[in-house]
């Protein structure tokens, strides 16, 4: 723990904004993990397609954790890389649509 504030000027923000942001990223990672476990459980139906879909789900989860890791540990700059935000959101949207496909796959 280096305790470097995200402001980078050596002062600590009394509102603990960097710390709150780190915890928000960790909560997001936990929520994503729960969703991934549920999605993999739905995907695994014992055939090749199921295994592939489960693999895609796990890969999305892993990519999310990699993108969020720098923010969750506070090792990056104070301001988020503006590319990361749309990537996170579209990853989540893609996961939701993948799950729709999984549910519909069970119907047919």
């Amino acid at each position: 723990m280096t305790g470097v504030p995200a402001g980078g000027d050596g002062t600590r923000d009394p509102g603990l904004q960097p710390e709150r942001t780190r915890l928000a990223w960790r909560r997001m990672g936990l929520a994503y993990t729960v969703v991934t476990v549920l999605a993999v459980r739905l995907a695994l139906t014992g055939d090749t397609a199921g295994a592939l879909l489960a693999g895609v789900t796990v890969a999305t989860w892993w990519a999310t954790l990699v993108v969020g890791w720098g923010r969750a540990t506070g090792r990056r700059q104070a301001r988020i890389d503006t590319h990361a935000v749309p990537l996170m959101a579209l990853g989540t949207t893609g996961l939701a649509l993948l799950c729709v496909a999984l549910v519909l796959r069970g119907v047919w």
């Binding site: 904004q17 988020i80 749309p86 959101a89 799950c99």
Partner: protein, 139 residues
């Protein structure tokens, strides 16, 4: 036809704005980093809301018993999943519009989305209450 064209144009502009960080990093002036962090946390909170809806949809698909109406279980699951996807897309759109407004010193963007989402969740919950009561009465 022109309406469709206009809608496509608006959507395209929004997507371009999300993925054009050089634009988002150059308009106006760089604000106090705490404002950006607060905006980032709000985005994450919305993303978690979306993830919770997705988890609800996945749980409905896997843990609900078969319902009297055919495919009702799957319909509930798909509705929750699509709602989660919508929340995630809207989260990034609101984040980029807020970031832009902070940089330009404008008013923060107003949104009806929270009210609409609250109404949808409330109506869904009421329907569930009715369904549970109806089942209790009929045995």
């Amino acid at each position: 036809m022109s309406t469709v064209k206009r809608i496509i144009g608006v959507v395209w502009q929004a997507i371009r704005r999300w993925f054009d960080p050089s634009d988002l990093n150059s308009v106006g002036s760089t604000p106090d980093y705490r404002f950006s962090l607060a905006n980032e946390r709000t985005f994450l909170a919305w993303l978690r809301t979306g993830l919770a809806l997705i988890a609800g949809g996945l749980a409905a698909a896997q843990f609900l018993p078969p319902l009297p109406l055919r495919h009702l279980r799957e319909a509930i699951a798909v509705a929750l999943l699509l709602l989660g996807a919508t929340v995630a897309v809207r989260a990034v759109d609101h984040w980029s519009r807020t970031e832009r407004a902070i940089r330009l010193g404008e008013r923060l963007p107003a949104s009806r989305f929270p009210a609409v989402l609250a109404l949808i969740v409330a109506v869904g919950a009421l329907l569930l209450v009715v369904a549970v009561l109806a089942r209790g009465v009929s045995g």
